[in-house]
Symmetry: C2
Subunit: 426 residues, 2 copies
């Protein structure tokens, strides 16, 4: 590291220390602004205000659902995004530097069973260095790291060569329509960082996923003469076993060292079952809903085809399925897998900044879940790394929190990375 | 058959022929009077009117739910029977004859999905000798056979020695609280006939049943790291397999020739499954609901204990069940099994009447479902035979119907049986 860079790092570090209370307050305000699907407006207003203060050029728009829906990667339960704006802030470089997208989603998943929360889900309460609330970890904490990094760079008057495009998007939790809208607006860059809750690990690869629904048929009868019917619950058990076998085969094909420590790199999860409607009748219908993990090295279409073909094979296991085939629907959310080559310059830059700030080598792993990074990489031609301060285990759970120290560490690492990546005009 | 008896039979036959339109009209009125649970009042009014016309002594009362609920055989989703009267009509004999209970339930199951009916469910329409509507087969047609038999006996002025106790009870479809109430009022007899829809077969034995709910636990996790959780759906599959094994063992013990042609004499039906709540989460809870068939030769308690003990054995199949045992609840409806010895005089009398009217031997089988006959036999000390004109396959189904000829054949057989059983005063 050059003396100049070292000096920059010191300046950023001190700026962040000095503005710690301000950062915490911003995160608190964002967590308190409940931004579940359809309710993102107020939280975005806070982001816009912040971007204007930093001095970025701001673009705000409500995505056009009808237009988005024509895109093969579109996935959302809704097509009307009225009142759910996307926000982009642009820091134009002086030229000839590499550009970067800093992307975070503003939407949060619902708080769930309120009885399981120790405090109000949108309290933003700080206790012993942790800030609590839905979205603290996933991923308003990460978004604040981005905003703090940009604030520091601007406040310190560091003239970047490359462009920085900050994106506060809607709809990540339902399949990425917000990021897709930004891509279709034409935003792209030489690399992107998404500060999803990775426990400060670096994820150059991420599993994609798709939801599916299987409909298994039976034939009704009175329970007292159940042998006259065909039990859809028993047939569904065969279907679950059959899918386990496919999961095994798909995972045996994976030799990526990033997945070395992961027991099942791309699981097929059967998360929901509903079947039959009366204890003393033979069930004539069972619906199974699940999530199919998609490897960073395959396309969604390949995975889809593989499950569809596999389900057809059921007829070789049981004649019943020949006459009454299991039907499959792809529904609900979907996340495109993403992969950035380990030799990519952004991984080197981010890793170096991490070591500089934390004092040790970063952990580099494959992500077991999807983010908007898949879309950015595959549909947006922007190689994307996922790295953020949140606590993976707390995402989507009651009593979600983030460690405040991590928010500032991530801000420092990201600021340094942006400076390094975009270059500084002398 | 004596000449006198033959003459009686001729008289009854002709009376029924002559009063055919009246019988059809009565059944039509009863079917049109929707008498689903809680709505039995109007249909019972029609029954009361008819009993008064025949000249029976009528008793009407709303069962006392609080009192009934203290009985070990009580099963009903409700404890308040306001507006749901039981009706009894008594034809006192001249003395020294055998008494008989003629029992039928007035309640019907709901019509279900109305789109599956070709006509209005409570139309009572007659098409090509069949009368359509909810309850036609189960069991207002059988009740009309009873009322016609009594009408004929009274109209023909046949002086019976033994008492006839006609019962139009509520709640059979939910576990028999109506018949239990009649038993606790003190009604008993030397034998009983229940004209449930047996396709004119004679059922001296009947399967009992109990509903149960099993709760199977898992541990939640994100579907992308499903190996960190424990899938309650997979655990529930082990439970279903385990129960299949118990069903096999319980049925291997049954050597009753009446069950010879029945593939599974006392099935355990798993009719309903609900588990998990999100496609991309590992399901942490599955509920299974089912119906356990109870042999006529065992007590409900024995069957209960056997399933409860068996479920505890799951811990030997999978350690998980040791830490998180499957819990079992007995809920909802319940039917006491019933058995009358094949050498019982009532079976002989009923069989002889059947042969006389139909001209061939009756089919004698064990019933795959429960009726109030179990309660009458076990709690009411009244040996009960189930025999009726309804179409077994149409009970509880859309487009339920009954063949009108069968209603009159059953009326004739029952009238002859009553005369034979109770004896005629010279």
């Amino acid at each position: 590291m050059t003396d100049e860079k070292h000096m920059l790092r010191e300046q950023i570090h001190h700026w962040l220390q000095h503005n710690r209370d301000h950062g915490i307050e911003l995160l608190q305000k964002l967590v308190q602004a409940n931004s579940t699907q359809g309710n993102e407006q107020y939280a975005q207003t806070i982001v816009i205000e912040k971007l204007r203060k930093i001095g970025l050029k701001v673009e705000v728009w409500e995505p056009d659902g009808k237009f988005l829906a024509t895109h093969p990667y579109f996935a959302s339960p809704r097509k009307d995004f009225k009142g759910s704006p996307n926000v982009v802030g642009i820091l134009k470089g002086t030229g000839e530097g590499r550009s970067i997208i800093l992307n975070g989603h503003i939407d949060v998943v619902p708080e769930g069973d309120i009885a399981q929360w120790d405090h109000q889900p949108y309290s933003g309460k700080v206790i012993a260095g942790k800030l609590y609330g839905r979205g603290a970890t996933d991923m308003k904490g990460g978004n604040v790291s981005l905003l703090l990094a940009l604030s520091a760079i601007r406040a310190l008057g560091i003239p970047l060569k490359g462009d920085v495009i900050f994106q506060s998007v809607i709809e990540e939790e339902s399949g990425g329509a917000g990021t897709l809208a930004a891509i279709l607006k034409g935003y792209k860059a030489d690399a992107a960082i998404i500060p999803e809750p990775t426990n400060m690990k670096i994820f150059p690869k991420q599993q994609g996923s798709m939801w599916f629904r299987l409909t298994v048929k039976g034939r009704s009868a009175h329970g007292g003469t159940r042998y006259e019917g065909v039990c859809a619950i028993e047939k569904a058990m065969l279907v679950v076993e059959h899918i386990r076998e496919l999961e095994k085969r798909r995972n045996e094909r994976i030799h990526d060292p990033l997945y070395e420590k992961i027991p099942i790199p791309i699981p097929i999860n059967i998360g929901k079952v509903v079947g039959g409607d009366w204890p003393s009748s033979v069930a004539d219908l069972v619906k199974l809903e699940g999530r199919m993990g998609i490897s960073p090295d395959e396309t969604m279409n390949h995975a889809k085809m593989e499950l569809e073909t596999w389900i057809k094979e059921l007829k070789n296991i049981d004649q019943w399925f020949n006459d009454f085939p299991v039907s499959i629907e792809w529904f609900g959310a979907r996340w495109v897998p993403g992969a950035v080559d380990l030799s990519h310059e952004m991984i080197k830059t981010l890793s170096a900044s991490y070591s500089e700030v934390i004092g040790k080598e970063p952990v580099i792993e494959a992500s077991p879940w999807g983010t908007d990074g898949g879309l950015l990489t595959q549909a947006g031609s922007t190689p994307t790394i996922v790295f953020g301060p949140g606590v993976t285990e707390k995402a989507h759970f009651p009593n979600e929190y983030i460690e405040l120290d991590k928010v500032f560490e991530a801000a420092e690492i990201i600021a340094l990375t942006v400076v390094d990546w975009c270059g500084v005009e002398r």
